[in-house]
Symmetry: C2
Subunit: 485 residues, 2 copies
């Protein structure tokens, strides 16, 4: 364990006070002298504490009056626009996202100085040392693990561990119902193939995770994009309208918590209504739970699956973003389609390798996992705030965004007509990788958006990159206005 310097511990203490409103914008911070006295620390520690909070953007120094809680810059940013509910996009409108995505991804494969396109935390946020020693001890426990046939049906320890942890988000299942997959992406493939086939229409959030659009296209299914709120998630009104308009919707796919890219979180009532709506319409509901564990605070939000009593909800998740970006361990609860999901998994890739499953299982059941999650969430919260501040500081006027209550990404709306592809290209030339908005819809509606990663420690290099990115956006947005003029 690294020891945290005293001034940092105290800074965290005051940061919490600011976050929860005990210290409000404009409030005076206790004086340096007071800090020394109250905490029994030296002058230099007190000063370090205040300066740290100043650089982090929480305090401002006023000459001869001391430090005051600052209005964060991002509070001055316009929040993201709510979607227009009445407008549905023809599901057949666009095909080819697959190639668009592939092109962007392959361009982004060269090593860059600053990768803002990821949807995970940086490696330092994950318990690599612990996982490494678990790997070694697992091999000692099962010496023939790599060379003996994989246990039929996948690893029991992991299934049991996941079933146990699922209780935390309100899901009560037996270990046998868990099917282990190669990440959440395989789970989504299996879920979609279990309930639909080529030519079918699938309702998805808009904007949505490009991976999902790509999977749909590769399966020959059509995405029907449902307007989605940056704060409360998929619009139930729009979804109901869609269900009345199209009679061939074969599934609804949603990310109820920390939607990718929006970061929206569905209110409890919305979730309950969504489950009931799909159930009433007999349309399978696929829940992508990639991020719920990363929601700020200590309570993991309740899964859609919790309200499912007929097996109409298929639940997909993975450890990718939560425990270890280097592991391809995901899982699926197939609901009514359990048997079919099992068959499809077997035909798709067989059972997963066991080593990483046992490692994940052991860690997930330990108390170290809880400690890891607490630390991960609070680190992410800090990094997210720093990134949001940087966006507010460096990005041009007209930029809009919401700061989500958890997760690893911020969805940023650039000034109108700024091309995310042009920004992507220009940023890549400066060795900065961003995720352009045009990947998140089959339409061009999000062409002036970017998804910005905030999973990395906020270093000087990162700050420089954000400043450069801000300048690029400024330039590209002007360019567009000139051309438009």
């Amino acid at each position: 364990m690294q020891t945290i310097p005293l001034y940092r511990q105290l800074a965290d203490h005051y940061l919490n006070a600011i976050r929860c409103g005990t210290l409000k914008v404009g409030d005076r911070m206790p004086s340096v002298r007071k800090l020394m006295q109250v905490h029994g620390v030296s002058l230099s520690t007190s000063l370090q504490l205040c300066r740290h909070l100043e650089t982090e953007g929480w305090l401002e120094a006023r000459p001869r009056s001391g430090y005051f809680v600052r209005q964060p810059r991002r509070a001055r940013l316009i929040p993201a626009q709510e979607p227009t509910v009445g407008k549905l996009i023809d599901p057949a409108q666009f095909v080819g996202i697959h190639e668009r995505v592939s092109e962007i991804i392959s361009q982004g494969q060269r090593p860059v100085k600053c990768n803002l396109a990821r949807a995970t935390g940086g490696p330092a946020l994950y318990p690599h040392q612990q996982l490494r020693s678990l790997t070694v001890s697992t091999l000692r426990r099962y010496p023939e693990l790599l060379t003996k046939p994989i246990s039929p049906g996948g690893n029991r320890e992991l299934k049991a561990a996941l079933a146990k942890r699922a209780l935390d988000c309100g899901i009560s299942i037996s270990a046998e119902e868990v099917v282990i997959t190669n990440g959440c992406i395989e789970a989504l493939n299996l879920a979609l193939r279990a309930v639909a086939q080529a030519g079918d229409v699938i309702a998805v959030e808009s904007p949505t995770f490009y991976g999902l659009l790509q999977v749909l296209e590769s399966l020959g299914m059509k995405a029907l994009e449902i307007p989605t709120s940056p704060s409360t998630g998929i619009s139930l009104e729009a979804l109901e309208l869609a269900m009345r308009t199209y009679d061939n919707i074969k599934a609804v796919v949603v990310v109820p918590h920390l939607q990718n890219p929006l970061g929206s979180i569905m209110p409890e009532q919305h979730k309950q209504r969504l489950v009931a709506l799909c159930e009433a319409q007999q349309i399978p509901l696929i829940e992508d739970d990639s991020y719920s564990t990363l929601v700020d605070g200590d309570k993991i939000p309740t899964a859609l699956k919790h309200w499912d009593h007929s097996g109409n909800v298929i639940f997909c998740a993975s450890v990718h973003k939560i425990l270890a970006p280097g592991l391809r361990v995901g899982w699926i609860l197939g609901g009514r389609w359990q048997a079919r999901v099992n068959m499809l998994k077997y035909a798709h890739t067989r059972y997963n390798e066991e080593l990483s499953q046992i490692v994940a299982a052991t860690f997930i059941l330990s108390s170290a996992y809880d400690r890891h999650l607490r630390k991960l969430r609070s680190t992410l919260a800090q990094q997210r705030e720093r990134t949001a501040e940087a966006i507010a500081t460096y990005f041009p006027e007209g930029t809009r965004m919401n700061t989500p209550a958890g997760g690893v990404s911020i969805w940023v709306e650039m000034p109108p007509n700024t091309s995310s592809k042009a920004v992507f290209d220009a940023a890549l030339e400066q060795s900065i990788l961003v995720s352009p908005g045009l990947l998140y819809s089959n339409s061009n509606r999000f062409d002036h958006f970017l998804r910005i990663n905030c999973g990395m420690p906020y270093t000087q290099d990162l700050d420089d990159a954000m400043r450069t990115l801000g300048r690029i956006i400024q330039h590209k947005s002007h360019l567009k206005q000139h051309i438009a003029a």
Copy 2:
């Protein structure tokens, strides 16, 4: 390294002499006295040597005359029947193999005393110790391997290692062309999805690996079963006939070496003709190379891909049967469909975990790999011969089989009308798992066949199981004849 007892070393020496015909059936073995003298060993070692070869079924003792090379029992078995070429099966004839396979597989998931249904060698045949220590050293080399994002495009070391080893079977490619998959089964999924879609007809060998039939069914594609010879593989005449009969064949899938279940090996000329035929007809040819490394002898046979000059051959393989049944590392060379295969892999399961890839890469490039392969092939050859002998000894009259020149399985034809499902059920009651013939075709043509694994050390327990199995088959085959009479 375990040291091999002296009598075993000598036994191997004489076994080789018998195998290559230096000592022929009926020849007299050198006398015990002669053996002592020639090899400078004790009486007891000489006796042990002869008794060992006697129990192994190679020698018989004749009272007062010594030991003689025995006629192996399996030489008296009728070889398997060659297929009738003119009869094609309507590809739409049967759907439901998926469920049939799932049922058999789930029944076979309880632990059994003797598992003869596998298509791999026993764990002892694979280098678990070496792979384990490579795993540990790899984690030391890359401490953040489990927690950092996976390198885009998959692991370079493994791609390079596979490209290098591919030279041995006549394939010359660059490392970038290799796409790493979750086993050969994912490779087959990607290959089929790259060139065909639901409703299309795919020509396959008959009998064929049930996994392939299952994949086709899950993708909504139709299997057109092409008669296949137990010795020379797919019938090119039948395939040509099929191509003339059906104009919607979208791919041909073959296992040219040690076909599963037949064990057939295509002659060089056949392979060349097959590649040319598919090329001329513009029908993609998918090569499943799961077993070629297990062909007896030191020369790995030439891949179909070797003769491919237009990218019409897609090559699929894995380390599953060769290096480590516990690893899910496969690969695919997409030929003309390279870009599409890449996209599909990304949408299917993303890139594979890196740890096992690096471990496999390091081992594959070492000389330990060559040593492992030599030992694996010779151990399999011995076990295959023992198993074949047991079949010849214990199975009822009317049993037919070929002993393949490599691999881990023997395909056995039981007396006509013996139901493989009945044998499967009865064997399972005795805690013996076999792989019933009805899994290997959408028709019922192979219902009286079994695939018998010969990858495990031939112990007394295994011999007992083979005897029990023989009795079960005897019983079930009589039963059928009574009912028929």
